[in-house]
Amino acid sequence: MYVSHLQLADYRSYESAYLELEPGISTFVGPNGQGKTNLVEAIGYVATLGSHRVATDAPLVRRGAERAIVRAAVVRGDQRALVELEITPGRANRARLNRSPVPRPREVLGVLRTVLFAPEDLALVKGDPGERRRFLDELLVARAPRFAGVRSDYERVLKQRNALLKSASARYFRQRAEPDLSTLDVWDEHLAAAGAELLAARLALVAELQPLVAKAYGELTSSGGPPALHYRSSAAPDEGHLPADRAALAELLRGALSEARPQELQRGVSLTGPHRDDLQLRLADLPAKGYASQGEAWSYALALRLSGFELLRADGDDPVLILDDVFAELDAERRRRLAEHVRTAEQVLVSAAVPGDVPEELVGTRFRVGEGRVERE
């Protein structure tokens, strides 16, 4: 698939922008702070309904404007789809697909699929577990949009359960009153059910990623390997073998919840479940976080993204590949190998401050970005 048109209104630095894109490679060049990343970020937003740079929507709206609009036309085989998003901070976003409003923005997920490489990706290796959980969950949603619902159900149960734990623990400390545990049982049940579904999907995904990551890493560098992925569940702390089927996982979560309960009541927060898990990245059997060199960490991060790309591609359709300012972070050898890898994608969008950073085979159609304008060279 590829994006054929992108139109922005009051998005970040753009009052308005319109560009036509083609399959193959397009490069956006221009000095820093001119809005290159904003363009690719907007395309990423259409695919994931989130920015890779910020957790909230407020910064996406141009200062002084009330809402931002992103419109993208996507071509997939001989099908065309038009996705329009209206981003209003503090309120629910609105979405239209082929000019008809959809009841929930979530329903446009899957129309456009992207794999985005960005300088922030280093956090996949060196950052908190949350970064790696997000990587897995976003890939799940990209492959099967239904998981956006699974994820939001889980988060909702978690919120309700945390609210209950908080009030129960407050009551316990203030009045030494035994909390009413019968409703907690109910939320445990729902947390285990929703958690097991998410957990089972993550485990299956990790198993699929494993060989792809090993292969991609080996092609990027010969140092540090081989890489291995270990999913660490907060419900099974001692690296025990995790069952694959949902009923067994729900049982595991139920057990962990009842074990953690006294502590949870004391601290007023849910301490076990997929929201506390980690995907441990190992290199030559040592945790990459802490042991990997800068170069190895970058290779690992790239290998994870490339594996995501391979998975989506294997599902039958090339996702749009976005390389946001990553070449500046890499040495010449890694640049070349990455370029080799991604060249074959149906559409590649590259942003760079210094045109010389982009390997020659990846230049393609050049757009010059400056002062809130985008011009094709």
Binding site: E107, P145, R146, G149, D153, R156, V157, K159, Q160, R161, A163, L164, S167, D180, S182, T183, D185, V186, W187, E189, H190
Partner: protein, 199 residues
Amino acid sequence: MYEGAVQNLIDELGRLPGVGPKSAQRIAFHLLAAETADVKRLVHALVEVKERVRFCSVCGNVAEEEQCRICRDPRRDAAVICVVEESKDVVAIERTREFRGRYHVLGGAISPIEGVGPDDLRIRELMARLSDGQITELILATDPNLEGEATATYLARLVKPMGLKVTRLASGLPVGGDLEYADEVTLGRAFEGRRSLEL
């Protein structure tokens, strides 16, 4: 901002559910332009609803007497109780004319975020109704969202020792709809709840 009384009215209207600032303003000016008699009638209706309407002492539905129309009706099956969140759900189910039992209105669903626990709902009253042994089936018709499901699970656990039949409304596909337009969750539920065709 408008002067005193007008702004006051807009603010009051704006506090109603589903009424935003723009709608509040439109309604306020509509009232301002309306005949005094029409406005008086609206005021009367508002006051009357607060003075006359109360909640049925048995089921918690809105009523004009001690008990609501359904609880007073001797033809309704006293052995089956359908539990709903709000009075408006009673109206929705009544429209189907499928159900001949009685209701129990909880007054909401369990939601810790909003500070609503079992004690804030009419669950104690429900338990009292169930204890007389006349009731054989409890239908849980809370909303099919997370809070409604949690409330249903809670009730099911609570009444389990009493040994009555507890059922939950099925979720599934809308009648007259197209399969391809159903969202995945609904379709998944419909699969789970599929039944065999008896010919």
